[in-house]
Amino acid sequence: MSVQKKKARAGFFIILPSLAFIGIFVYYFIFLTIRTSTSNWNSFSSLLSGEYKFVGFRNYQRLFMDPRFQTDLWNTLFFTLFFLAGCIILGIFLANIIDKQLKGSSFFQNLFLFPMAISFVVTGTVWGWIFAPGNIPTSPQGINLLLENLGWTNLQWMWYTSTQSIGKFNLALIPVVIAATWQMSGYVMAMYLAGLRAIPEEMIEAAQVDGATGIQLFWRIKMPMLRPITLSAMIVIGHMSLKIFDLIYAMTGSGPNNVTDMPAVYMFEQMFRSNRYAIASAIAIIMLIMVAAVIVPYLYSSFRGEK
């Protein structure tokens, strides 16, 4: 056996245990969840009896007819949209300023990143307090109190306890998006900063010699070069957003009328409070499909062609 072959064989055997663990704990467990999601296990007793009855896609049908789950899907869509937009716009904007290497820019860079080190649970707890509306107008709390102190009482609002909506967009999501963006925008900024620093200096200089203005430089040179970063940021933030749980759980619960409810929160309640294992599993599988729709093409395109 050649050295090369020996090495390859060793490599395979080293990976094998991890592959087996992932095989069981990811792929087999997903299969088990799919199996549960197509079963009649919607009470503790049906689970205990252990008798498996296949009910097809009935649990999924029930879910899609369920107004709360419909709200969840709309919330996920809008939350993802605004969370993504917030992180990317803020990320590009801040990265471009930090990249100018002003005095103290590394201080600001560290400052904008620090929320990343903190748990979503802490973020949710603290922002939950900041955005708690209190009783307006008599005893406002949090931001509302600050607004009153500043004399801007007309800006006071119910925040995440508001039941207002525009179309299918629940306005109560706004404070949640702000909290999430606070946490993750520094991350996106760091990604863009790395991207900006990888752009060859000659390229920028050449464009400047040709008389490109700052804005032209940004749109014609930097943005096209940063496209792969934008894609990565969308994948990272997007898949995170589709399964967001801890922030919502710590910050708003689900809000009145489920205005800030998400599939992950609904799943948690169905599984651990109501013992509706089949329904909960169906929610989990729908979440998996949403995430896979984003991730699989990305992984496929990243690893295709390599041998």
Partner: protein, 276 residues
């Protein structure tokens, strides 16, 4: 690369940075100022004011309530972090230096585990722990974090080892070293920066994790601090200064890591954003 900026635009940049500073520091200000307030000063009407005198009442109370959970978090996070880093290092070595046919496909299959919503494996996982009698324990959480940490730690070490020239590994084979010796004698000694990044990343993630923590441990005395913090916030009787002190205690270990080893933290972040 820096562009030339004139004085006016410089001022504008600083104003923008100052405004954003307010946004990023705001929750920190609220947490810090509230947690140091004495009980009698914690009313909603002075939430934006600084404490008139520094009081540790909030911290005392928060420590009394969350102390055991803080300990749990350390018991959980330290072993889980170390084990998953070691596994990642070995896997990364195999996938970057001992490539086999379809090793990239295998890697992609493993990597997928990093992105799945853990809800999709949660129920079987709990049943598994119930079957082996570990449900509700910290070791169950350690196992969970080690297994679901395999994809990310493997990815990070694979990327790290790919920067190391193959000749180095090949030279040791010529010298008669076997694969294990090559790993321990050649690769491991130069892996320390890689380990630092992976350990920081895993420590932060495992410390901050909530879904597994809340579903695998139901006994309050065995719960990590993230779960205990939410429970603390859920009970209405608790004073705000206690809650904010609790939030600070829960955030402090990862914040310290970030402040001391920020450079490596950023590297971990960028490695975690998957460049394939």
């Amino acid at each position: 690369m820096a562009e030339k900026s004139n004085k006016t635009s410089l001022t504008i940049y600083y104003i923008i940075l100052a405004l954003f500073t307010i946004f990023y520091v705001l929750p920190f200000y609220v947490t810090l100022s509230t947690s140091f307030k004495p009980f009698e000063e914690v009313s909603i009407s002075n939430m934006w004011k600084l404490p008139s005198k520094i009081s540790f009442e909030g911290f005392k109370e928060a420590f009394a309530r969350l102390g055991p959970n803080l300990k749990n978090s350390f018991y959980l996070t330290i072993p889980a972090t170390l084990i998953s880093a070691i596994i990642g290092s070995i896997n990364g070595f195999a996938l970057s230096k001992l490539r086999f046919k379809y090793s990239n496909t295998v890697f992609a299959l493993i990597l997928f585990g990093m992105f799945i919503p853990y809800q999709s494996v949660l129920f079987p996982l709990i049943q598994f722990f119930q079957a082996i009698g570990l449900y509700g324990t910290i070791p169950a959480l350690i196992i969970t974090h080690v297994i679901y940490g395999i994809p990310i730690t493997t990815l990070m070490f694979k990327n790290y080892y790919e920067e190391i020239p193959n000749e180095l590994v090949e030279a040791s084979a010529v010298d008669g070293a076997n694969i294990w010796q090559t790993y321990t004698k050649i690769l491991l000694p130069i892996s320390i920066p890689g380990f630092v990044v992976v350990i920081i990343w895993q420590f932060t993630n495992i410390w901050n994790e909530f879904l597994f923590a809340v579903t695998i441990t139901s006994d309050p005395t065995k719960q990590p601090i993230t779960v205990a913090l939410v429970n603390l916030a859920g009970s209405q009787v608790v004073q705000w200064n206690v809650q904010m002190a609790g939030a600070l205690i829960a955030a402090l270990p990862t914040l310290i890591v970030y402040i001391i080893l920020g450079r490596y933290f950023v590297r971990g972040l960028l490695a975690g954003s998957v460049k394939g």
